[in-house]
Amino acid sequence: MKLFGEWVIELKNNVKLSTKLVLFITGSKVAIVLMFIITLPFLVDGIVSEYTNYSLRRQQNKVINVVKKNGINHYLQGDDSYGSYTMLKEEYIALEPANKGLPIDTIKTEQRIIEQDTLNYRILMHTFNFQNKSYLLEIGKTVSSINQYNKPLQRIALYVLLSLIAISLIFDLFFTRMLIRPLGKIIKSKLVDRKFPFKNHAPLINTSTQDFKFLDASLVTLLDQINEAFEKEREFTANASHELMTPISILQNKMENMLGDEHLNEPEALKIVEMMKTLNRLKKISNSLLLISRIENEQFAKSDIVNPAELIREAIEEITHRFEEKGLSVRLNLKTHISIKKVNRDLLFQLFYNLINNAIKYNVVNGSLIISDNIESNGAYAINFEDTGIGISIEDLPYIFDRFRKTNLTENVGHGLGLSIVKSICVSQQIAISVSSEVNKGSIFRIIFPPELCK
């Protein structure tokens, strides 16, 4: 189980915008509801007591007006004081003479005993003069009757709020979804699962949001620019290596003719041989670059069905002399009977040949090469080329497929395009390739054919 903290960190680091918005909106609404619930009792109490005070004052004015109109005896009717209360003692009014010179005008909550019942009242006390006499007017309202509506009021307010919040939440979520939907579309159509080069043009997303329009258009432009640059590089490689062929051809044939001259002396012959070796290197580089650009231009039909084990045996056969020369042993551990479809046979042969050649080149004398295969859990077919060579250091690993990159310059390792060819074949034939290596122990090149190519 994940700890909450871990979960939060994960959330912080890798969350979709829509999820974040939903979380934020919901969170803010919950906070509002909580604040409201906390403040509601105080609020209701405040309103109720304000209103009670107000109504007590109104009643006071009414009483005084009546007294002014009808005279105080209308109430006192000869008695010293006057008192009246409703049947349930929820309200009472009292009038009594008061000491002169001590005017009182307050509203406060106090206890009164009415007919043996001690009750809490909100009481207005007000002194006034009438016909040169001072009277105290008391109007009281039981606290319980005042507060009786508090609870239902709070509840209703809460319900109304909750339903409003729920409605607004639904609207918010709906609209934010709608609002950011173009973003999702842009990501899906322009960025997710796009394989370089981006050939099939995804259409512009239909949106009225200017920012998204801009983002979408910019992405399309950027992808186009990348494509264009790549296209140019490819074209250049193809043209340059192609254009080199004729001059190389002339030089090679001239040297061959010179070497064929019977009057040639030994030092001159040796010089020509050296020149031919250099020229041959140039030829190999041009040929390899041309091959890479042809692979990248998809000039090889992918319509063959091949048996990889058979091809590997052929490649080994082709290169047996190199194994013998270095005293290497090769062990084939290919147990799976499988055919690979929708590939190019020549390219696959070249792939195996280059990997085997590589394993020989970087191997130690009397070392070994083990070629084994297995079926992955998802049905993919994997072949491992495991050598006992000098290995590749971790710093060099990311670059071994780069053109002209040579990882170990102490060895005579050729032009450094062998693995670039391997890489471009893999890309063109949808084969995955990975390398693990340990210096002075060896390397394992692993190629994986996806299940859809396996037959």
């Binding site: 062929m245 004729t246 044939n253 070796k277 082709e318 290169i319 002399h321 020369e325 005579n412």
Partner: protein, 224 residues
């Protein structure tokens, strides 16, 4: 044998001519589409070496017309366009062989000889090589009717050296002939030497092999 070289790169055409003349071919040069066509209309050739990238037309278009005028000639396409489609198109149009540039002149001559054997039914007698006799058609080496076992690559090496007798062939040229595009780029490897050693060992058991010379620092030669 008469050869027409249709190649717009003059220097290259001269080198090919130079080489083939030494091998006793009679050469004619044409540096363009039209010039080539004209020559074909007037003369008949045994071999027509055709460059595809001509300045005034595509060699692939020249091929069908050329075949009208010279139906019996052997056509070899020489081109810097090494892609598969061109190769297939050329062979479909009736070319006998296809050499991508840059090619070795030794290879060109060897291909021409192979075509001659195949196409013109040139019945070569058994060719003498020291005390041995070579049968290039059946790919055999004999000593008084006795067949000597050589591996495929060993025979290829020996016959290539034989074809270019009196010429020193470098290890690189030999390995390129044997392994083609897969010839290795590390030149100081001694696998050609190993093969030669084997050939000598196998032949020496029957008769001396002084004809097969080692030329120090350069390569090997069969001396006739």
């Amino acid at each position: 044998m008469k050869v027409l070289i249709v190649e717009d790169e003059k220097t290259l055409a001269y080198e090919i001519e130079d080489f083939l003349k030494k091998a006793f071919y009679i050469c004619d040069l044409a540096h363009g589409f039209k010039a080539g066509l004209e020559k074909m209309q007037i003369n008949t050739y045994d071999f027509i070496l055709l460059d595809l990238g001509l300045p005034d037309g595509d060699g692939l278009n020249l091929l069908p017309q050329a075949k009208k005028h010279n139906p019996d000639a052997a056509y070899i396409i020489l081109t810097a366009r090494g892609n598969l489609e061109d190769r297939i198109a050329g062979l479909d149009l009736g070319a006998d062989d296809y050499l991508p540039k840059p090619f070795s002149l030794l290879e060109l001559q060897s291909r021409m000889q192979a075509i001659a054997r195949r196409k013109f039914n040139v019945k070569e007698e058994l060719l003498p090589l020291g005390d041995f006799k070579l049968d290039l058609q059946k790919r055999l080496i004999l000593l008084n009717e006795q067949q000597i076992e050589l591996s495929r690559k060993e025979f290829d090496l020996l016959s290539y050296l034989f074809l270019h007798s009196n010429r020193v062939l470098t290890r690189m040229q030999l390995s390129e002939h044997i392994w083609g595009t897969f010839a290795d780029d590390d030149y100081d490897s001694n696998y050609i030497d190993a093969h030669i050693k084997n050939i000598r060992k196998k032949l020496n058991a029957w008769a001396p092999t002084e004809f097969l010379e080692t030329v120090r620092g350069v390569g090997y030669r069969i001396k006739k």
